[in-house]
């Protein structure tokens, strides 16, 4: 892999490659150390953290759907304090040179601010603000579908941290550019999209929803065309950089997102299928750059010709 060609500064976060492990699909990175070289990962985005520990939803939490999957984990996580005390040091030991981005959410604007302040520590290279988790009843959905609430969260977070702030948008909206512009105006340093689309499966044998939480978040290859469309729309609407994700399984998928306007990409559900995916996608992008004779991955960004 030619790291010179791939090195990316994403909103001030320095990464060896433009390919990250997406929140909730890459643990804290260290879980995958048997399968890939953590040093070759562009950035680790943590599982979503919350003010208090959460045990998540009951019942079935993951289900395959055509070309993808549904999940209703319900933001299970050990809470911000345990993360800072026990997990972050381990991550920094196992992956000293890999960018680490903390993903988090909260139930109130104030708590978003509090989380940002707590995460403004060494070892965290940036934060990703989840305003869009569709399967947590007491938070998320409100912020992610209302431009004013999203802006309020963004401001609260910005006020409480010096780290680059990535705001992660929900695709479950009528016009994604409205949301993107709202958080840009509120000070976001970058935008990540897309989070999961809300879906439902009914088990026709039991005649009950298959998932414990009734609905869940759809992700995987099935959603890729929607994600690429939204990245392309948002790239035309805002000036801040975009982290593109949603169904990426290979370098060709990633190049689509880059051409659409993403400056970096993240691999989500595909990690479950191929635990070396984050590194393989970076290698594939590199091979593509080689094949088409480009000197740096940034030369692809937003270059789709209409």
């Amino acid at each position: 892999m030619n790291f010179e060609r791939l090195a990316t500064d994403f909103a001030g976060i320095k990464m060896k490659t433009p390919v990250m492990g997406a929140s909730g699909t890459f643990g804290f990175g260290i879980e995958y150390k048997d399968f890939l070289n953590l040093g070759d990962v562009g950035a680790i985005i943590s599982k979503g953290l919350t003010p208090l520990p959460r045990s998540g939803n009951n019942g079935v939490r993951v289900a395959e759907t055509p070309g993808g999957m549904l999940n209703c984990i319900g933001l299970e996580n050990p809470g911000i304090d345990v993360f800072l005390r026990d997990i972050l040091p381990k991550v920094r030991q196992e992956a000293p040179d890999t960018a680490f981005i903390a993903n988090f959410s909260a139930g109130t604007v104030e708590d978003y601010g509090m989380m940002a302040a707590k995460l403004d520590v060494d070892g965290v290279d940036g934060v990703e603000v989840n305003i869009s988790c569709p399967n947590v009843k007491e938070g998320g959905i409100v912020f992610g579908t209302d431009p004013r609430a999203a802006a309020a969260v963004t401001e609260a977070v910005k006020k409480n941290t010096k780290k680059p702030v990535i705001v992660k948008l929900s695709p479950n909206v009528t016009d994604i550019t409205v949301m993107a512009k709202a958080v840009e105006e509120a000070g976001a340093d970058a935008i990540a999209l897309i989070n999961t689309l809300t879906g439902m499966v009914i088990d026709i044998r039991t005649r009950r929803p298959l998932l414990g939480n009734i609905t869940g978040g759809l992700s995987g290859p099935a959603v890729k065309p929607i994600a690429v469309r939204m990245v392309w729309q948002v790239a035309q609407a805002v000036k801040i950089p975009i982290l593109g994700l949603g169904g990426i399984t290979c370098g060709e998928d990633a190049v689509e997102f880059l051409l659409a306007g993403a400056s970096a990409v993240a691999v989500g559900a595909e990690n479950f299928v191929h635990p070396d995916a984050v590194v393989r996608v970076a290698e594939d992008i590199d091979a593509y750059l080689e094949a088409v004779g480009l000197k740096h991955v940034s030369e692809l960004v937003g270059q789709v010709r209409i």
């Binding site: 699909t25 879980e31 993951v62 070309g67 995987g220 191929h274 635990p275």
Partner: protein, 264 residues
């Protein structure tokens, strides 16, 4: 723990809906322990996620593992359609497997292995290991199946067991009833010191409670829908009954002490 492209050696029919597949995966075979599992993916197929299967047996010399699986849905249907020499991506060995404790076994105590439905699969390798560890004190096996059509399990088990007690739901073979119905007799005939179970939750619950009541060390192998199999998706967690910890079945299990899973 790695991903290995395996070549299918055989993929045969054991019953209506149960198949057995031997896969050439030397690196995984070299590491696999009883109770561990693999996640497989047919790279040319139509499903997205890997599918988890217990490692039913291992041939380290030949570098092969055995899977025994029930055709339950799209993924296993596709598996059933694969032919020898075709490739299958195998991730494993995953999880921690059974813990083997020998206390009480010197004095004539026995280990009882219990398998229900396709949960028998990982118990074959477990039985083999026990028989190898203490050839003179092979485990007793309690086989809980639907009907005589599933007696094929005995062929896999007979060399590694002292005795196989069969229960069938319909009484077409062995004792009519559920596995637990055979317990009084087994406990009266053998000095059971350890129990290891893999089967439907409802079956394990009853058996584990009985074991706990009797003060017999008991391990259960859990199952839950899994996306990643390695502890990152949090699809398979549960709260430990005693520890209060959030366990990941795929990573911290699939085998747990009965007390951590079921209320006494």
């Amino acid at each position: 723990m790695l991903v290995e492209s395996g070549s299918i050696v055989t993929n045969d029919i054991l019953s209506d809906d149960v198949r057995c597949m031997v896969i050439q995966v030397p690196s995984i075979a070299a590491e696999a322990e009883p109770g561990q599992f693999v996640m497989v993916k047919n790279e040319n197929g139509g499903t997205f996620l890997r599918r988890p299967f217990g490692i039913a047996d291992v041939d380290r010399e030949q570098g092969r593992i055995l899977l025994i699986y029930r055709v339950a849905g799209k993924g296993t249907q596709e598996l059933a359609g694969l032919e020898p020499t075709m490739e299958l991506s195998v991730e494993g060995p995953l999880g921690g497997g059974f813990r083997f404790e020998s206390d009480g076994l010197e004095a004539g105590g026995r280990t009882l292995l219990i398998g229900g439905g396709v949960g028998v699969a990982p118990m074959i390798y477990t039985a083999r290991r026990l028989a190898e560890l203490e050839p003179a004190n092979k485990p007793v096996f309690l086989l809980g199946i639907r009907n005589e059509g599933e007696l094929f399990w005995q062929d896999y088990l007979k060399d590694f067991t002292e005795e196989i007690i069969v229960t069938t739901n319909d009484g077409s073979a062995g004792i009519k009833g559920f596995a637990i119905d055979a317990m009084p007799e087994i406990l009266s005939r053998y000095d059971i010191r350890h129990i290891k179970i893999c089967g439907p939750t409802i079956m394990m619950e009853g058996l584990a409670k009985l074991a706990m009541e009797q003060g017999i060390e008991c391990q259960v192998s859990l199952e839950k829908r899994m996306a990643c199999g390695v502890g990152v998706c949090l699809g398979c967690t549960f709260e430990g009954m005693i520890s209060g910890k959030r366990w990941k079945i795929c990573h911290d299990g699939p085998v747990f002490p009965a007390e951590e899973v079921f209320e006494k």
